[in-house]
Structure formats: C-alpha cells, structure tokens
C-alpha cells in the first residue's frame, strides 16, 4: 500500500529568510506521526505546504501516491485538514458549518446529512449542533473544527496544534477521539508543542526546530540517541542564567537551559550520582531548592537534538 504521505526536501523562503529548510518525512498507511517543535519552528508552514495552501520553493509532496503539485484536487480529497486557528463561521450553527464545508467536498445531500450526524456524535456535539458556533466554549469550537475535517472520511488527518487554548476536559476528549480514529486505521499527522500529547497519540515523531527536521523516528529510537543521559530538572533560588552557565561547565552535563524564572533543565550522564556536584557548582549564584531526575524521554531527546526546550 502507498504511504499516506511522503514529503521530500520541502523548502519555503520569505525573502532571505528560510522558514522551512529541506524538511522530509513520510507517514505510512494507518500510522500516527507527530511533528514536535516549539512555536515558530516551521510546523504550520510545513503543513500549509502539505495541504496545498502554500506553494513550496522546493521539494515534493505526495498524498496517497498523488502529487499535490500535479493534481492538487485529487490530493486534497484524501486529506482532512484541521487548521491551528478555529476556522468556522461564528454566526452559523455547527450543523450549518458542516453542511457548507461538506458541500465543498461534493458529498451528496442525503449522505452529507447522515455524515454530519455521525461526526457530531463522534465529537460529542450532537445536542448542541443547532446552536450558533459563537455561543460555544473554546473546546466545543475546537471539536467542531475537527469535525469539519472528518466529514469526507479522509485517508490522512492533519491536525495542527488541535488543543491550543482548550480546557483540560475538551483536551482529553480531543485526544480520545484522535486515538480512536487512528485505531480505526486513519493515518495521522499531529503537530504540537505539547510533548505529552505527541507521546500519547503518535508512534513516530519528527523533531523540528528553526525550520529543520532535526530527527525522525520512534520514541524509542529518539531516546536511544541520548545514550545514558538523564534529564535533570533543578529548581533554584538565585541568578538562574548564571547558574545554568556554571552547570553547563560541569563534566557529564551535555546541555543546560533555563526553563523558567527559577528552573533549569540539564542533560547529564549518570544524573543521579552527579547531583552533589551539580548542587556544589550552583552555590555562589543560586541555592538548589528542588531536584528531579527523569529517565530519558522525548523532552530530553528534544533538548539533546535542539539545545533548547519546547518553549510555549
């Protein structure tokens, strides 16, 4: 079976600035792929090229074997795209929104009516379907936003930061729905800067930063690149920048970044045994008031690959 998505050497430039630089990855049929990166890393620009909203300056995209540049209409039929921002008519009801977008996908009238009912059930909005979207909570709008992309039963669902700004309850509901869709065989491209979401939903992850795909693989593969490094989270009281600088010089520490006004994240080999040395190194600029040593995870892999955190 053809891969759900293959993109190769995607490039997008705005003037002299290259915002996407030779990004390439593939998603197999039925696979859930996460594109993980901080805000401004190039995730949305990459997705805009994948769904045909932006013309790449270089590279190719095929969806289900169809070249997006050569036959955009056929390729778009296979994609369900959920944009990062809510893209709905606020003055219309959820059902009216779904009807309008469903017609753009040429769904026959009767089939569309039935399908609208199904997706409203799926996202848990059947009882509010005839209320105007402008009266919805942020989470309900997000779920409607996703429902629109499911109407035509796409082979590949592309979700661009689908949980931004939603309440925890809606977030759980969205993630549950996404997991169910993947379990039913839908291919998924999920972008987020929330590590835990990507870890939960996706089987394979690409780490993108400053327009470049830094690494690509299963969670196990990415973590394995860390070797024996642990993630060490320190809470400090004092000059956090100077402390991070000092900790970076400690032998065994490969990365040290400031993650808040009083927190520093380290990648360190044998982190547990290194703690006394770290505390001693910090003295003079700050007092260490809390310590957590975490087994290697995606967060640590991200720090290792990009030298930065998934800043919000």
């Amino acid at each position: 079976m053809k891969p759900a998505l293959v993109c190769t050497d995607l490039v997008k430039r705005y003037g002299d600035r290259t915002v996407v630089d030779r990004v390439g990855f593939h998603i197999d049929e039925g696979e859930a792929y996460g594109l993980l990166g901080p805000n401004g890393a190039g995730k949305t620009t990459t997705i805009s090229m994948l769904v045909g909203l932006l013309r790449p300056d270089g590279g190719t995209v095929t969806v289900g074997g169809v070249d997006v540049a050569a036959d955009p209409i056929a390729a778009k039929r296979l994609i369900g795209y959920v944009p990062q921002d809510i893209a709905l008519y606020p003055e219309l009801t959820a059902r009216e929104n779904l009807r309008f977008f469903g017609r753009l996908y040429a769904l026959p009238r009767r089939e569309l009516a039935a399908r609208i009912g199904e997706v409203l059930e799926l996202v848990g909005l059947a009882d509010r379907a005839d209320d105007r979207v402008e009266t919805y909570s942020g989470g309900m709008k997000r779920r409607t936003n996703i429902a629109v992309a499911l109407l035509h039963r796409p082979r590949l669902l592309i979700l661009d930061e689908p949980t931004v700004g939603v309440d925890p309850q809606s977030r759980v509901a969205i993630l549950d729905n996404v997991e169910r869709l993947v379990a039913e065989g839908m291919s998924l491209l999920y972008t987020s800067h929330y590590m835990e979401e990507v870890e939960r939903v996706c089987t394979r992850v690409g780490i993108i930063d400053r327009g470049r795909l830094m690494a690509d693989g299963s969670k196990r593969e990415l973590v394995a690149e860390l070797g024996g490094s642990d993630r060490v989270e320190l809470v400090v009281d004092g000059d956090v920048e100077a402390t991070a600088e000092k900790l970076r010089a400690v032998e065994g520490v490969s990365e040290a970044v400031v993650t808040g006004t009083s927190s520093v994240r380290l990648l360190a080999t044998g982190g547990r045994h290194l703690l006394p040395t770290l505390i001693a190194a910090a003295s003079g600029t700050a007092a260490v008031t809390g310590v957590e040593v975490v087994e290697p995870d995606l967060e640590a892999a991200f720090l290792h690959l990009t030298g930065s955190t998934l800043r919000d």
């Binding site: 955009p72 056929a74 778009k76 795209y81 944009p83 921002d85 893209a87 709905l88 309008f100």
Partner: protein, 391 residues
C-alpha cells in the same frame, strides 16, 4: 461549477442575512438618487432656458455674428436667449438678480483686432447659481477663441506672404476664414440636455456599484481572517473558487442595485435614461469593471477594514472624477479629460449619448472602453491574487 455555486450561495446568504445587501444595494442608492432628483432634477433645469447677456463694447461684426450663429445652432434652438447690457456692471447686476445666467463681454476694437491678425480676448461673467448657463457661455467663448486663433494665424501668414495690410481681410475671407461661425455641438452643451434627475440617479447607481461589490471584497478578507478562506482552499476545489464566487455575487448584487436605481428613477421621475438595451449594455459593462476594480483593490488589502477603506477611496475618487457626484461639465478642463480614465466618466458619456437620442450602437465605444477597463483590472487582480492571497 458546483463549488462556485456553493461558495456563491454562502456569500449571498451572508449578505442577505446581515442586511448589508438590502441597505447598500437597494435602499441607499435609490433613496439618494431620489433625493438628488427631487433637489436638482425636474422641469426647472436652468440650462434648458439659459439667458446669456452680451456686453458689446466692440460694436463690430464679430459679436453680431456670434449671436446670429448661436441662435441658429440646432442644439440651442428654443433654449438660448440673448440680452444686451451696456457695460460689465449692468451685466453683473443682471446675473446677480437672476435675469441672466451668464454674460459674454466683447472688448472695444475686438473685431478690428481679430481682422488685423492681432487676436483678441473675450471674458465671461458667471454665477454659481446658474452653472449651466456659464457652461454654455464658456463653450461659446471656447469656440470664439478657436476661431480667433485660426483667423489670427491666417492673417499673419498672409501678411508674411506679402499680402498688403489693407487687402488682407478680404484675402483671408476669400480663402476660407470667412468670418466667425460657431458650431456648438460640443459635449458640455449637449450634456445640459440630460435631465438632472437622470444624471444624479445614474451617478448614484454607478457609484454604489463599487460599494456593493465592496461588500463581497470585504467578505473575502473577513473569510481570510476567520481562517475559512484557508479551509476552502484546502478543499478539493479549484484555487480561484472562493475569489470567483465572492466576485460573482458582488457582480450580481451590483447589477440588481443599478437596475433597481434605474427603474426607480424612471418610475419616480418619469425621466428616461434612454433606450433600455443601450442602458443595460452600459450597466453590464460598468458592473463588470467595478467588480474587477474592487477585486484588484481587495487583492492588496490585508484586513477587511483595509478593503473597506480602499473601496471607499476608489469609489469616491472615481465618482468625483467621473461625474457621478458633480457633472463633468462643471469640472476644469483637465479633470474632464481625467474623467475618461474612470468607468464612471464613460458611463456618464454613454448616458449622455442615449439622452441625446442615441441607441445601442452609439454607446458601443463607452461600453467597449468600460469593459476594457474591467479586463485590465481583472488581469491585474488575478496576478495579484496569485502572488498574495492565493499564493
């Protein structure tokens, strides 16, 4: 075609739902056209019974000839009356009292000076209260100036060629410059034949066509801000569907708006805009041009408020320059020329043709020019959309 209908249907529903279509396309232009018609139109149009004063300090053949020729001019038969005044003060008093609409002053020795090839100048006294009498008077003076220039040139050429000064007048007249003659079939004067109810009614219709299409342009930018434009573009439909669907609805609403204003003008004032086919051709061409111009403007806007501002600016500038707000013949000469760069100006010229008894064939040029303006704007809009919003 089906996606275009879906997008167009949605746009039309949105315009009807928020009430803007009804207000901008029907109520506003019809009400304004009617108000202008009542205020300025009707049977009392000053140009149709203009009285021009003559102050003849010259007493020669030239002023007499001008009067004779003007009264014989086909366009002014039954319209123009001349009254003589002894001096400028008396003429000015007559104009101020409304006895005369304007006056032409011939200076002493004017005929002799022109006959000798030395040229000459006449002046026009006008009043803001009777602008169209002033138009006629100025039009006559323009013609007089042209004749004087021609005569001066002929006399000087003859003198240089060796014709004796005492024989030059006879020589020139025998060789084609036989004294003053006026042909007053000029556009400004025939413009006065259009009922002002028609003039302002059509002016409002022409101007509001921009506003009506502007609603759809605004809608396009609103969709962009809502993110629904991107969502449409991610759907399996041709890339231009959203823009074309909005533009098509703008076109149709503007067409309905202009036709409704036309119909209301004819029904309320009983004043004909001209043969229906000719009027319809002009309206279709204008609505097309307005749609393309507004889409070109929208292609450069980033927000719906910006699109509104641009459309408003273009509509008012074109309305002013093109004679939709102020009659073209009241504008300075260079602005009268500039008016022909606007579709409004050509539609106004076309309606004048129709009012003067012309038919469909007589408006072929205005229709072609207006449609041409639309094509140029359309091509530029497509290029700009491809580089911008639809890149």
């Amino acid at each position: 075609m089906r996606p275009l209908l879906v997008v167009g249907g949605r746009e039309l529903a949105a315009r009807l739902r928020d009430g803007t279509a009804l207000l901008i396309a029907l109520i506003a232009p019809i009400v304004l056209a009617t108000m202008f018609g009542f205020a300025l139109g009707g049977d009392d149009d000053p140009p149709l019974r203009a009285t021009i004063g003559i102050v003849d300090h010259d007493g020669g053949e030239f002023p007499a000839s001008v009067r004779r020729e003007a009264l014989n001019a086909e366009e002014l038969r039954g319209v123009l009356t001349f009254k003589s005044y002894v001096d400028d003060t008396a003429a000015r008093a007559a104009i101020d009292s409304g006895e005369a609409g304007a006056a032409i002053v011939f200076p002493a020795g004017f005929s002799a000076s022109v006959g000798a090839g030395d040229g000459g100048e006449v002046t026009v006294l006008e009043s803001a209260d009777t602008p169209l009498a002033g138009v006629i008077a100025r039009s006559m003076v323009d013609r007089i100036s042209a004749l004087v220039d021609a005569r001066t040139l002929a006399v000087r050429a003859s003198l240089r060629a060796g014709v004796p000064p005492e024989d030059v007048k006879l020589f020139v007249e025998e060789n084609g410059a036989a004294g003053p003659s006026l042909e007053l079939a000029s556009d400004p004067v025939s413009g006065g034949a259009v009922d002002l109810a028609v003039y302002y009614g059509s002016g409002m219709a022409v101007m509001f066509a921009f506003f009506v299409v502007g609603l759809s342009a605004r809608g396009l930018l609103t969709e962009r801000q809502l993110g629904t434009l991107a969502r449409m573009r991610a759907a399996p439909i041709p890339a231009w569907t959203a823009v074309a669907g909005k533009g098509a609805v703008g076109f149709l609403l503007a067409l309905v708006s202009m036709c409704a204003t036309w119909l209301s003008s004819e029904l309320i004032f009983g004043a004909s805009w001209g043969p229906p086919l000719g009027v319809l051709a002009l309206i279709l061409a204008h609505v097309f041009a307005a749609t393309m111009i507004v889409m070109l403007v929208a292609s450069g806007a980033r927000t719906d408020a910006q699109a509104d501002g641009y459309t408003l600016g273009v509509a008012f500038v074109f309305a002013f320059l093109g004679g939709s707000l102020v009659p073209v013949y009241n504008l300075p000469d260079f602005l009268q020329t500039v008016s022909l760069a606007t579709p409004n100006g050509w539609v106004s010229a076309g309606l004048t043709e129709l009012a003067a008894g012309g038919g469909l064939a007589d408006v072929a040029l205005p229709v072609a020019v207006v449609a041409g303006i639309g094509v140029v704007a359309g091509v530029l809009a497509v290029l700009r959309f491809r580089k911008g919003m639809l890149a």
